[in-house]
């Protein structure tokens, strides 16, 4: 059998066209996937840009829940939840926790009384190297159910450069188009901004699944319920702009603070994909144990500064549900985290962090 002789170089146009077309097709597909050719797709960048536009640029800070304070402590599990989740955090025993109390909005200098919402984020560091991260708010429902509505709400509440306040007409139009915001707005209307983080209950809002030792899933929402729910304004005056941090420091000086971690199991038919709808109060609730907060540190040099409380960072034994907010939170928190860590690191292109003298 003979080797075919090497053929001379071909110069035909279609051969070049095949090469060019292959490159072009791959490039176009890549560009489409990366979103260059899909400007209308809702990306994490667009959400975080909108947050940043509403609050102004504050280099080094979170693009939402920018004003906050670090806490540390531990979780003492009662073991009650271990029949529903194989996560070792629910076995009887102690797990260290790094947390953060905060108020929403991208302005780290905002007055505490400007919003009734307070938040608690937690990172449980499990003995096996896995982690459970969660961010919870004190409202029993979230205003919107989807990332698209979250984005529209940000656009509608953008401050008017002339007045410094959102345009009431645009806000009203948004609410009219989004009746699902009703439950949250009713809560916000009747809630006086608390002058203490300590007396609040914090709700995970998004649904998850617990996975038990047999692999069975149980739809769940969790919350942290304070030991001392009364006496929010015993310590400090609600009108001071930084009342929350001072109150927390004062109370911790008197000893650790406690919350009970409650897991609410869904009944068949309860929505797992809609954070605007609370589950009925008669659901089966498991008291999973006690969260104990011992120490507080400012966020500028505290251990919570460099944590991204991405709610999809979960240990074996907990998985995300079909709640569409979860993926959006994961993507947007990563983008916000990249911006603020890049600003601290002085990465080229990132805004420089103003160093305090």
């Amino acid at each position: 059998m003979l080797e075919p002789e090497r053929t001379p170089p071909a110069r035909s146009t279609w051969r070049w066209a095949v090469i060019a077309a292959s490159v072009a097709v791959l490039l176009l597909l890549f560009g489409y996937t990366a979103g260059w050719l899909a400007p209308h797709r809702l990306t994490p960048q667009r959400i975080v840009d909108a947050l940043q536009r509403n609050a102004g640029l504050h280099p080094g800070y979170r693009r939402n829940h920018a004003k906050g304070i670090c806490v540390t402590g531990y979780f003492d599990s009662s073991g009650n939840a271990s029949a529903y989740s194989r996560a070792i955090v629910f076995a009887p025993g102690r797990t260290p926790v790094v947390g953060r109390f905060a108020i929403p909005g991208g302005n780290p200098g905002a007055p505490d009384g400007g919003t009734p919402v307070r938040s608690l984020a937690l990172r449980f560091d499990l003995a096996n190297g896995q982690q459970w991260r969660t961010g919870m708010n004190n409202s029993p429902v979230f205003p919107v159910a989807t990332p698209q509505s979250f984005y529209e709400q940000l656009v509608a509440s953008r401050p008017d450069p002339a007045t410094g306040h959102p345009d009431p007409l645009k806000l009203a139009a948004f609410y009219a188009a989004h009746p699902e915001t009703g439950a949250f707005r009713a809560w916000a209307k009747e809630t006086t901004p608390s002058s203490s983080y300590v007396t609040e209950s914090y709700y995970g809002l998004d649904a998850f699944y617990l996975i038990d030792a047999g692999g069975k899933r149980h739809a769940v929402r969790w919350s942290a319920v304070p030991e001392a729910a009364a006496g929010a304004s015993e310590m400090a005056s609600a009108t001071a702009p930084d009342v929350l941090a001072g109150d927390l420091q004062q109370r911790l000086a008197n000893g650790p603070l406690r919350w009970r971690l409650m897991l609410t199991l869904a009944a068949p038919g309860d929505p797992t994909n809609d954070a605007t709808r609370a589950w009925p109060p008669d659901r089966h609730i498991i008291d999973a144990g006690t969260l104990v907060i011992e120490h507080v540190q400012p966020q500028d040099n505290g251990p919570c500064r460099d944590i991204n409380y991405d709610p999809t960072v979960l240990p074996d034994g907990i998985v995300v549900s079909d709640d569409p907010l979860l993926a959006a939170r994961s993507a947007a928190y990563a983008n916000s985290y990249l911006r603020r860590t890049s600003e601290h690191a002085g990465v080229p292109g990132a805004t420089r962090v103003e160093r305090q003298p």
């Binding site: 080797e3 090497r6 053929t7 292959s22 890549f30 990366a34 979103g35 809702l42 990306t43 979860l326």
Partner: protein
């Protein structure tokens, strides 16, 4: 068995398997950071374990590459082209090993557990340090684009060899049915295959047109 005019079969298998996997990773990567839909979650869940698989395959492939020398480039290829081919291949090796290592290192520096499945995770390879995270995350993104454009050039070059030069370079990496020569006429390289027992060429009809034979 490996023939002198083509890559070792294991090298070829790894090449095409990894070409698919790496392209998939690039698309998964840019896709997941550009969406807030639930795709973000499952793309990320594919990204980490597939990336670590690529790291393991790349190390195996490096071993194969060092153990079995690749066929020489055609001697009539201009020096600059030869140099480009060789340096871009080493760049590709560096990136297919570097990218997953950076991904792993960056998650370690960010303080994230490197979950590969629901219950599997890798140990951190760097201490938690947010500045390192920011730099590595930048590197992961920039080098991903470098990798993509290098692959585009590499693919264009391979097609140029196969369609325009038709010098046997493309078929040295494909699972061709006819043996190809890579050099114009070095006598050492001309007809060793005829007696190669088990070679697929034996079952080919002698006139079967191989890839690179002028179709016109």
């Amino acid at each position: 068995m490996s023939r002198p005019d083509s890559f070792h079969p294991l090298a070829r298998l790894l090449h095409w398997l990894m070409a698919l996997a790496i392209l998939a990773m690039l698309f998964v990567g840019v896709g997941m950071v550009a969406t807030v839909s639930t795709r973000h979650q499952w793309l990320l869940a594919i990204h980490r374990p597939l990336g670590v698989t690529i790291l393991l395959l790349a190390l195996l492939r490096l071993g194969v590459r060092l153990r079995w020398r690749p066929p020489p480039l055609p001697s009539d290829m201009p020096t600059i082209m030869q140099w480009l081919a060789i340096s871009s291949h080493w760049l590709l090796y560096a990136l297919m090993i570097g990218m997953p290592l950076i991904g792993w290192a960056m998650l370690s520096a960010g303080g994230f557990p490197v979950m590969l499945g629901r219950s599997w995770h890798l140990p951190p390879i760097l201490p938690a340090n947010s500045a390192l995270y920011a730099w590595l995350r930048l590197a992961h993104g920039v080098l991903a684009y470098l990798l993509f454009f290098t692959i585009l050039g590499h693919m264009a070059a391979a097609l140029y060899h196969g369609l325009i030069r038709r010098d046997g370079v493309l078929s040295s990496m494909t699972f061709h049915r006819l043996p190809r020569r890579r050099s114009p006429a070095p006598s050492t390289n001309t007809a060793p295959e005829a007696g190669d027992i088990g070679s697929p060429s034996q079952t080919d009809p002698p006139d079967s047109p191989g890839y690179g034979t002028p179709p016109l």
